[in-house]
Symmetry: C2
Subunit: 342 residues, 2 copies
């Protein structure tokens, strides 16, 4: 958790001040930046020792701790012309919280490592922190940031690690689905992919991501854009599913069909989904839902926001209305990113 690679005010020779009235990471110096960020970070109820020492200490009353890590890279994962810093903080929290919830655990703490260009305004880091805080407070109250790292890179890079508490329960794996179980989902399907499509089709000028176009899309397609840039995964439904007896569960990050195929393979079964319940190809193939896919014994009263979308059957892979389903190959427009633009 050392952060000393950020130069102090006396050591600046580079791009400091190029943004005029705005303080930057480089111009203000590490200590002053951290002093402005720390009060904005969410507090963790599980925090026994917070930022400022070599490491933090977090309560793990269960005697086990759930841990996941995920990076967000400018280019492949987001564009600064589309996502506000607040969005990025929110999404970095949301996507990691969702992986914890998908184990049936309650998120307890995050550590957040951030590497940004030296000329990044401190305002950006403050808004990022606000997004982290509001994301945690809204999606997983009690979960907070207990530590982190701040570095300089030419590529805006976010690495979050999340911890969770199983509260005495067994973790819900991908491998426990049994023939006859109900397949259920909690959360939105397809909206994040629709938002991404809109951004690539209407959020660019000369193929370059554009701030003003994205702002217009936020007004005209609020739900889809928000689902892509600041998703609201149903975190509390993860533990709720575990308590209700979910036999398998995972976070929908790469699209319902791909992730259902993973659950099916891990469990040695097939999932037969109902097109009437799921919707169409957008819902089946769209990525980044961060909704929860779970299986339950057929007699279970589905908890929280879960709704039935199919059945676990004998076989391999994913069926829709009894027919084998082949998802679209998942064209990812970010892959064309040149490493510099927007």
């Amino acid at each position: 958790m050392t952060t000393a690679e950020i130069p102090g005010p006396a050591e600046i020779s580079g791009p400091a001040g190029t943004l005029g009235i705005l303080d930057t990471l480089g111009s203000l110096g590490e200590q002053a930046v951290l002093a402005r960020i720390f009060p904005r970070l969410p507090a963790a109820a599980s925090e026994l020792l917070g930022p400022g020492d070599d490491a933090a200490v977090v309560a793990a009353p269960d005697g086990r701790v759930v841990i996941t890590t995920d990076m967000m890279i400018h280019g492949p994962d987001f564009r600064l012309a589309w996502s506000t810093p607040y969005d990025l903080g929110w999404k970095a929290a949301a996507s990691n919280l969702s992986d914890i919830a998908a184990m049936g655990a309650v998120p307890t703490a995050l550590v957040v490592a951030l590497a940004v260009p030296a000329d990044t305004p401190v305002l950006v880091l403050e808004q990022f922190s606000d997004g982290l805080r509001h994301g945690c407070d809204s999606l997983a109250p009690g979960c907070g940031v207990v530590g982190g790292d701040l570095s300089v890179s030419t590529v805006f890079t976010i690495a979050v690690t999340a911890l969770g508490d199983l509260e005495g329960r067994a973790p819900v794996l991908r491998s426990g689905a049994v023939v006859g179980d109900v397949v259920a989902v909690s959360g939105v399907l397809g909206a994040a992919a629709e938002g991404l499509r809109l951004l690539f089709e209407h959020g660019t000028v000369d193929s370059v991501p554009d701030v003003a176009s994205a702002a217009r899309l936020r007004l005209e397609h609020a739900a889809a854009i928000a689902a892509q840039l600041a998703p609201q995964p149903p975190i509390a439904d993860g533990p709720a599913a575990a308590i209700a007896g979910a036999t398998a569960m995972l976070d929908l990050s790469d699209g319902l069909a791909i992730d259902a195929r993973r659950l099916a393979a891990a469990s040695g079964v097939a999932l037969d989904l109902s097109s009437a319940a799921v919707g169409g190809k957008l819902q089946l193939d769209g990525g980044e839902d961060h909704s929860l896919l779970a299986t339950f014994p057929a007699t279970t009263i589905l908890p929280g926001g879960f709704r039935a979308i199919g059945m676990v059957v004998a076989g391999v892979g994913v069926l829709v209305d009894g027919e084998p389903y082949i998802e679209s190959s998942g064209w990812d427009p970010y892959r064309g990113w040149d490493g510099e633009a927007g």
Copy 2:
């Protein structure tokens, strides 16, 4: 812990195969790369559930868990012309293990997020994994990798989060030093900085980091180069210090003088170091030692590799032989990096 942003073999349109006989992350595809990496990662004795689900589960028998995170960025933190992939894996493990040890805890598990250019040979990732494994096995036996994330970025970026177990003890903070305590250090002082100086002075051609020059330096100055590129922090001495009654401790990452000043400030005391015990400016100002600085009651028989280097006295800051010490401003040659070279 989703990794699906790495394109599969059928989806390649870019720089795949530019390295000829070598498979790359882009050409081989995510699943094949992970299959080659996983067997090389160190196993964690604390692992209850390893890679492959949304999150891992780690034993935390103490009811608390120590957590730290640290990023290494190509450019500010390392150069690919100087560090082998093996070195990078080793150092990423070592620097995070050291932060856990500095709390008096035993490292139990790592999660490792890696973002690399798509044309990175898989061999690089295999060697990185070997470095992680040998680093953990050598420095903190029983600690291993329980999860991670693999992404594409134009900047080679490593983000490691480490967990540790306090085994029922209180964490050793920076703030507990008391007037009359002995100041002690375990591990090498100054060698990592000497290695960095040698690399910048003799490891470049036309100011660009050079592989052949670095190879020659490895032969001629093995200890200093190894201290910089693949440090061997005395991890076991962290818990040993806690058991022996250390009153304060930290990991020496930014140089003995700067870090001693932090410990002094947190404890509200001054540290008076002996030049005869410490050495000269190289030992006082050199960064990245990843040695442990601790204070002990004067009657303590110093554990493990700790040796006395001074006393805790009333006052502020760092003294050497009773005189206030001002460290050099810590010129960091990495700061001049242009984001592209070497």
